[in-house]
Point group: C2
Chain length 315, copies 2
């Protein structure tokens, strides 16, 4: 579930997407309405799946934005679904669907998806960064997803990369998200051009909204502002990745999300900071790659989490 769309999929035991449904998230409704909306899509998918000869779902996994308690299934805060703050999503979905439901943070689920079926197959130590509207993260350590005490771990967009930097939506200053997300890039352009909020020139917009893709096209066309903004974002992305390499000695750093489309233009500045800041022996062991799964990463990963919970129960 994202801020705009819900993607619902039937995923096989081996991680193949057999059936997919996409509908509006209706994220502005009450918590009860969004539960009903999700449930209807799951039921519609189960109906379609049964008609096409697939078996009934053995487990349901839901990937949602924002930090949550993975054990209780209570959402702490969901940036795009305000009504979910403190909402026991898991319990409500289970009651409505009459089946066990696993709730997982969307970036965590994406990390699981990349680990199961994507760029990080067979890698035991993986750092995933999702550069979208905000910056999310997922961590695989020793082959296991890192949850921390209650499932709030891997908020990798909110490590400080510049302690005197811009104010982040989370309330802190100089988080990675203030540079390497779509909203961060947009703010950087506004600051660079000394504009008031939402007054970006049309060459950076798509349908009136800021677009990292348009920014990249502008940069490729030689627009100096675009080139410099992407270098700045790449610089701070590199500062963060260097810290992650020193913290995790990972086999792989996987970068996904809309802003990752501009990675070729951020890469030189990113690599410069990584080489300057991280231990060279660890850098040499780290592959830095683009995510392989795209928007279905979270869906596939949520299915994996649900499958694992069934496996854990039957042991």
């Amino acid at each position: 579930m994202g801020g705009t769309n819900i993607r619902t999929a039937a995923v096989s035991r081996t991680g193949e997407v057999m059936l997919m449904l996409r509908g509006p998230a209706k994220a502005k409704g009450t918590a009860a309405e969004t539960v009903e909306n999700i449930s209807r899509q799951v039921l519609a998918l189960e109906d379609a799946a049964s008609k096409s000869g697939l078996r009934r779902a053995i487990a349901i996994g839901v990937a949602v934005p924002g930090p949550l308690n993975v054990r209780t299934g209570v959402i702490y805060a969901a940036p795009h679904v305000k009504s979910w703050r403190g909402f026991p999503l898991r319990r409500n979905l289970e009651r409505r669907l009459g089946q066990t439901v696993i709730v997982e943070n969307d970036a965590n689920a994406w990390a699981l998806g990349e680990y199961w079926r994507g760029a990080a197959r067979g890698r035991k130590d993986v750092v995933l960064l999702t550069l979208g509207t905000g910056v999310g993260g997922g961590l695989i350590v020793g082959g296991n997803l890192v949850h921390g005490k209650s499932g709030m771990a891997a908020e990798l967009g909110h490590i400080t990369v510049d302690s005197n930097g811009m104010r982040c939506d989370c309330g802190a200053y100089g988080c990675l998200e203030t540079y390497a997300s779509a909203s961060g890039l947009s703010n950087l352009i506004q600051k660079r051009l000394r504009l008031k909020e939402s007054k970006l020139p049309p060459q950076y917009l798509h349908d009136g909204e800021f677009s990292a893709r348009k920014l990249m096209i502008q940069a490729r066309a030689g627009d100096r502002v675009a080139v410099e903004i992407l270098a700045t974002a790449g610089h701070f992305l590199g500062v963060a990745v260097a810290s992650f390499i020193n913290i995790f000695n990972p086999e792989m750093v996987v970068i996904g999300g809309g802003v990752a489309g501009a990675l070729p233009l951020m890469r030189p500045a990113m690599l410069r900071e990584i080489r300057a800041r991280a231990f060279s022996a660890a850098v040499a062991q780290t592959k830095i790659v683009k995510a392989a799964l795209g928007p279905l990463g979270g869906v596939v990963g949520a299915a994996f989490a649900a499958l694992n919970s069934i496996a854990a129960k039957s042991v």
Copy 2:
């Protein structure tokens, strides 16, 4: 093994120190000489242990400074033992002692020690910071020590807290170590007083060397430089701990090392940054405490690592 001393101990299966020996590290000798020096202490300890009725060691663990490959036992770089760079320490110790040896990074070993017998008993997600000459780290995630791909993980002193900050011994700029270590504090005072290297006033020195303890005494006596320096160190320690809380959602952050003695004076600035930067739900779940084991933490943890390796083999 530290830069100055080697501590060798006989540790029981339940983590009690039965016998302890302290000798000079002779860290300036060749790699072969330091291997001989360590081995002699181990043999002397085994001799004393047998005379006092203890059984022969069933496993030997060695904690050493600097990043190393935990599987091969090869040291990547040891700040205090220059001759160890690229040295296969484990193989050489095993050959000399005729027994299986486990080599572990000292801060990792300390984290294991705190987890086994110290402040973090029963905690499954723990971040350990050792504030000594430099800043080391150890990570327990889901009850397991984090090694990364080759044992170089948890170099927590080398995350960037100020990307335009002072140059660190590691070559990067603005690492946590440039603020929250003894050498960092010393540099901060020199910078604040605009002194050339090693010209610190006597009130911050002990036996001619910079002493975090003397700095704290000065701060308690009202010395403004001392108060401000400890607040600066606390500020950046807080920036780092906030990032660790957002990354790990830990149950506990354990802070040890000589500089941790000044924690009461760094704490207000540290807590201010943590509250301003980390997710409040995660902050509420995190206990921040002083290490319980002191200089024996690494010894006890190395014993635990050795014991675990025996247990893993017999499975």
